[in-house]
Symmetry: C2
Subunit: 426 residues, 2 copies
């Protein structure tokens, strides 16, 4: 079939008629499918079931340093947990803090504390006229949700194939009101972008006007490869070499490694940042769940085994990604109605359609029983300037449901695109 943009009005009208019928046949099926959130599927969760036996009623519950993991204490986490999460994040155990079950919660708390108390003696953000934040787009809606909640002005940064547009980043950090940037450096959400060595080096060499500017480096998918392992330089090490050891906070969790909601989360940063954080955090908690730390440490043994575990995840979800990709290739290829990513890892496929179609596509998907991430969610303030980006999350549903949902998606994209082009003709 030829590109839609080359079609005549009559051709498009005929197409729309056929597609309406095809769409209606899906609606009549009263489906209930969900491609909205980056949630692991049940089969993936089963991979970590044996972890639940590693801490049982007869286990030795004393940590390596003699700490009783059942009792209070240990603000920055057990050494062995800091070692495991540190290995995963390319950091030394001394530079790691283990938190509760959610890295999102760490990021929120980090911003909250910076806002109220300030970063390393700098003015608390609440006392500033204006605080701004850089947001590579499309990006992660929950990141943007935190900065929006704190009234921080978000600035869109275009995302290139090798990471954020560093010319733009370098320009904006000259503004002392700019205090941070959201980054998902490997398999970005939703684009699947892997930051290049050059981009990472330019990050490390940033000269921000604000002394308390911090890179929020969210290692959400750092070992979540769909194919071969991809490694990138460690931003903390690069910042150190560039003479900016305190410029980055790295975040990670095992939410998509073991159990979302029952995993470990962690932060890795410089010794000075860590001391600053603990000095504030000591008022908030006596320590996080050390039994769950033991559970993870004993299940994996070491980082090598964690990587093996991730290969099993990849075997389960790779076919889901490939199914979506091949359906989109087959159904939409050559039509000029959209582009989609073919990520090498992470949890999402990013679809970019014709301008002004994303909201309608997501709405019609919902009417056909398929819940997708809200259009606009990948932009600060939910404001996609082109109304064109849609995040596809293929991991949760079983393979057959994913195929069905992708097939419906292709029909909806064609239908909405054809109608959009027709509209433009009138």
């Amino acid at each position: 079939m030829k590109p839609y943009k080359e079609m005549s009005k009559e051709e498009l009208e005929g197409l729309v008629g056929d597609l309406e019928n095809e769409y209606q046949s899906y609606v009549d099926m009263h489906l209930s499918l969900n491609m909205a959130r980056g949630k692991p599927g049940s089969e993936q969760l089963d991979l970590s079931r044996p972890m639940l036996d590693t801490v049982n009623s007869t286990s030795d519950l004393i940590a390596e340093d003699g700490t009783d993991a059942r009792n209070y204490g240990c603000l920055d986490g057990l050494y062995e947990a800091r070692k495991l999460m540190g290995d995963m994040m390319d950091s030394k155990p001394e530079d790691v803090i283990i938190y509760g079950n959610s890295s999102l919660n760490i990021m929120y708390d980090q911003i909250s504390r910076s806002y109220v108390f300030g970063v390393m003696g700098n003015t608390p953000w609440k006392d500033l006229e204006k605080v701004k934040w850089l947001c590579p787009v499309p990006g992660y809606d929950r990141h943007f949700g935190i900065t929006e909640f704190f009234g921080i002005e978000m600035i869109n940064i275009p995302m290139n194939e090798d990471g954020p547009d560093m010319d733009a980043v370098e320009k904006f950090v000259g503004d002392p009101a700019v205090k941070g940037i959201w980054c998902v450096p490997k398999y970005s959400n939703p684009g699947g972008v892997v930051y290049s060595d050059e981009v990472i080096s330019r990050f490390a060499h940033l000269k921000p006007a604000a002394k308390d500017f911090r890179i929020y480096w969210d290692n959400a998918y750092c070992i979540h490869h769909l194919y071969d392992e991809i490694t990138i330089p460690d931003i903390l090490e690069e910042c150190k070499k560039a003479g900016h050891p305190d410029m980055v906070y790295k975040f990670a969790s095992t939410s998509k490694i073991t159990f979302p909601g029952a995993g470990l989360s962690a932060l890795a940063t410089s010794p000075a940042n860590k001391a600053d954080i603990l000095n504030q955090m000591k008022h908030q908690t006596i320590g996080h769940d050390k039994l769950n730390q033991l559970r993870h440490v004993r299940f994996f043994g070491d980082f090598a085994h964690m990587k093996e575990h991730m290969k099993k995840h990849a075997e389960i979800i790779r076919p889901k990604f490939e199914a979506v990709e091949s359906i989109l290739d087959e159904q939409l290829g050559g039509l000029g109605v959209g582009e989609w990513t073919k990520p090498k890892g992470g949890y999402f496929i990013s679809f970019t359609g014709l301008d002004g179609t994303a909201k309608t596509i997501v709405h019609k998907m919902k009417e056909a029983g398929v819940v997708m991430t809200g259009a606009g969610a990948t932009y600060p303030y939910h404001a996609d300037p082109h109304d064109s980006n849609i995040r596809i999350a293929p991991t949760l549903p079983p393979l057959d449901e994913i195929k069905q949902a992708a097939a419906i998606f292709a029909v909806v994209v064609k239908l909405v695109s054809a109608k959009k082009l027709l509209e433009a003709m009138n």
Copy 2:
């Protein structure tokens, strides 16, 4: 022996000489004992070991409402966990939010959100000239630590035998800058005070000038009886009846029921407060650890079994409390050098010595190898106006160590008191 205050200078001098020798013999033993924190002992922790088997690799991990407890979601916690913690807190499941492992963290977050975003549409505290807080004294150091950290001005409220001095509380809440009060209503920390029905009723009928005044009702020891069960009226219900349904947040955790650091924490409050909290909390997390919620629910089954479990705790720690009490009775009774509580529950004995002796006593205990809670810790800003209150935490060490520590404590109290009285003669 007669009261120290009736002794002559010579008698006191002789006494001090003997006590110095006795004290030195303890110092020479190079002990390492700890009566500082309210931590359960190892034998208590063993009581909950079987809980670790209730969620294992072959368990059904689906909650009552069909939620997969392994995956993301469920911001306010599983229904069955809200039911269990609600029963413990005298609240309906609908009024409960389950959090992570620490009720201290809930209180911190609650104050942090009130500070930054405000309570139910009221002005955020950060934007007010002054925020004040009522602190019944002696009280819990970590409570005071939070309000101090946020720069909130703390006002001491005398603690009577039946709860805080309500005349003072009623007077101070007339000030619109007063936004809250710390309460541990049953077995207060450290005094072991149980609030009377009248005190609770007067709390419920408070008419605070500030619309966002909240009672922070910390049910830290609500079922932590050493002897028979003691029940008190439910403050939330009383507030509702008095027409102030939104005036209280209740907090609790299983830290001293199952595992400190690996328990559940919860908040119970009115539907309006709960909605306000969740509306803010949704930016911070997707949900807390639901596998740990299942673990607790399956271990206890219901609240009746939780109460049975608490009797086992009491059997372990009651002898420790009684050992301290009887040693103090024996060694210090009739000397007029201090008073101590004989609590019916909770985790502490509160000792009040002669004015100006607490710091010295704690210091000399440390030199003899016994770590105690810092003198002054039971007052805001660590400022005990009489330098007389010391918190004794008898739960952690084994019984024989507790007896030894109490014996040393008695010697140190006698020595420091005698020297203090001598000083006054010079």
